[in-house]
Symmetry: C2
């Protein structure tokens, strides 16, 4: 049983990119968004046609984390699809919302493709966005086999690599590898406000790389961070403490601990897997 | 008056890359390093021939910041060149060392090419390393016109863009755009030690970019940071305070200030000039 018809709810960057990937593989894609303009842009990009209520095999819920549970409940009530997944960057809260709203958890597979761009919205979408990227899936004890099969089918059609992980473990992991690094990059970029143009003219590729993700949409990131607040705060506290200790050590002229931090940085960097 | 003969003292990454750039433009390059093996590697890469004491037009001192003044004094005593420059990543301390050691400040132009790689040593060198990159020059009130002309000639032959800036202003600038970001990247990379392999498998290009420079040689960076300690500490304190405040805000669920930090990050990132 493969995906012949899909519904993408939320035609932003991720939803529209998934729709384009599915279209490339010949899947019939229906599109829905509360913003009619976003659907129009996605449609014009060839991402699919507007949804008019027909039942599909898989519904991909690509809305902000805080709205996933609500949207899932509505779609299940309409019998919109045989299976449902979402793409929100946090998983514990959306799953708790879905349970609280009485959603059918057998047909829902929480998901999160680890892909993105600094730009948001459907105009930034592209079919290849997920190629070779990890795509976390967080099935629970009640998840049905067919829903998992269909969602794995979506991941494969998008060219991504499925990584199965518990929801809480997922949220701690993305706090570490994505959310806290985003805030750290923002803080480095924010510090540049104190520099004059000559200082900035000395910037090199290193600074560009460190701060690249800081260009992301602040309101989008506010939502992501608020949905994963405690795990992100734990990582930020550690980074802040290391940086404050580094400043103290530099002023004191005692650089052994700072050198140790640099060594730990080399080790940590070495643990990041190469792109698959 | 152009550079016909040059001497590169210190055949590490930067010195050997400068030598290779000069060789490409037909300059006769002589090489010197206390490490005979480093000279041999540079020579085998075509960076020039071993220096046997002949006088050159320009000597490029590419040794660690703490050794620049001493090396300059030795070379001037031998009458090794008509003009001298260095490539150390800090400028206030090497200039103070040179003055203290009684160097001739008319023939010396402090310099710093803003280029590098994560790998160090002559084997990592390449002629194109400086192409399009800024190259800071910090002439003082006593700097002679010919020394400045020869050093600008070096910058041009390496394909870089000369940026004239005061030494103290230079050191604050590189603390902001290079040294503090390096420590911040190291702290983010070091935080990954707490993650398991599944967490790391969810890493994306964003994390790779943020932490790329953290792969740099810890001992090399220890020397760079210790030579610019107070300006770097000032920037690190600001970044640490922003990150600690972000953690507190996340735990309190009050995200307005954090959103403001993200906005400042977008602005700061936007101030970094595109690669010329």
């Amino acid at each position: 049983m493969t995906i012949e018809k899909a519904l993408v709810v939320g035609t932003g960057l991720i939803g529209t990119s998934a729709a384009l990937s599915l279209r490339e593989k010949g899947v019939a894609v229906h599109l829905s968004d509360i913003d009619a303009q976003a659907v129009r842009v996605a449609r014009e990009l060839g991402a699919g046609r507007e949804w008019t209520g027909e039942e599909v095999d898989l519904a991909v819920i690509a809305v902000p984390p805080q709205l996933v549970g609500e949207r899932l409940a509505e779609l299940q009530k309409r019998g919109a699809a045989r299976a449902y997944t979402d793409v929100a960057s946090v998983k514990v809260d959306p799953i708790a919302d879905a349970e609280r709203l009485g959603c059918d958890m057998t047909s829902y597979v929480p998901g999160h493709p680890l892909a993105g761009r600094e730009r948001s919205g459907p105009a930034a979408a592209r079919a290849g966005l997920f190629a070779g990227r990890p795509w976390a899936l967080c099935p629970g004890p009640g998840t049905g086999a067919e829903a998992l099969r269909l969602t794995r089918g979506l991941v494969a059609l998008c060219g991504a690599e499925a990584v199965t992980v518990g929801a809480a473990e997922h949220d701690s992991a993305v706090a570490l590898v994505s959310h806290a690094p985003h805030v750290a990059a923002s803080a480095v970029a924010a510090s540049l406000a104190s520099g004059d143009d000559v200082a900035l003219s000395l910037a090199g590729q290193g600074l560009r790389d460190v701060t690249r993700i800081a260009a992301g949409n602040p309101l989008l990131w506010r939502r992501i961070l608020s949905g994963n607040a405690v795990p992100v705060a734990a990582v930020l506290d550690r980074i802040a403490a290391d940086l404050a200790a580094a400043a103290t050590a530099l002023r004191a002229g005692d650089l052994d601990d700072l050198t140790e931090l640099l060594r730990r940085g080399v080790d940590g960097h070495g643990r990041i897997p190469a792109i698959g």
